[in-house]
């Protein structure tokens, strides 16, 4: 009983790893994120985005997890390259910044965009999940 009550009030856990141990795990999931857009497959994203995840896209629009997953299903992305990714660890929270280049075809017209992003990851229930993100165009 005491154990049950103690558990009811605890937070979601703590990663306990150093930045050098956490960074490769987070970066692998960031790559998975890009692959989801390429493959139009939201399955992996469902697992790595928290249910309360929110994203702000480069037009300043707010997207929920469900909206991001729907966007992935109808993705027009043909190339997705990430660069300059850096992970900063703050206990059970990790901040990732980086730049990605996306190329694709939308409404019959090819496009290419270079965007900078910041994602917030949280160690929750024994795994890392993304809880927020924002993307903004890199000025040429």
């Amino acid at each position: 009983m005491v154990i049950l009550l103690a558990c009811a009030g605890t937070s979601s856990g703590y990663a306990g790893d150093s930045e050098s141990e956490v960074a490769p795990k987070i970066l692998a999931m960031e790559h998975m994120w890009g692959q989801a857009y390429l493959n139009k497959d939201p399955k992996a994203l469902e697992r790595i985005l928290d249910d309360a995840f929110v994203n702000v896209d480069s037009d300043g629009l707010l997207e929920t997890k469900a909206e991001v997953l729907a966007e992935v299903r109808t993705s027009s992305v043909l190339q997705f390259l990430t660069e300059s990714m850096v992970v900063h660890l703050h206990g059970n929270t990790a901040i990732v910044t980086g730049v990605f280049l996306i190329k694709g075809v939308a409404r019959g017209k090819p496009y290419a965009q270079r965007e900078r992003f910041v994602d917030t990851w949280l160690y929750k229930n024994g795994q890392w999940v993304s809880i927020a993100g924002l993307v903004t165009r890199v000025e040429q």
Partner: protein, 147 residues
Amino acid sequence: MRTIVLLLILVCSTLLSLSAQESADGDVATAIRALESDWVAAQSRDDNRALDLMFDNALVYIEYGRLVTKGDYLSRVKSAKPQLSQIVMEPMTVRTFGSTAIAVGTYRDKSVSDGKAHFGRWRFVDTWVYKNGRWMLVAAAAAPLSK
């Protein structure tokens, strides 16, 4: 009978714990909103000391697609001409995840450069982490809202 009493105690304790958690989340949201407001106030009076206290040393800030460090940000505030920019915050949402909080909202800004006024509206995502007894800003980013 003993089992029923134990179950009742467990249910009540869980409800109390959830209630306390909701209250704590509300307190955190209030604290984060106050900090966001303090940030704008400190910036409007070019108060680098106040900003230094609320910004984590590893702060990453993204604006206009550029990555700005804490040092860059504070240097810019230090060299800024007073009263040439104004920020008006709009309603924001704060989500709490234990010792992490995410603030999402919009703001309007007005800046003057080369004698001309520029207006913009932005959506931001800020990440705050509870460290050493206080909330610190560890990441902040804003994207211009399309008209």
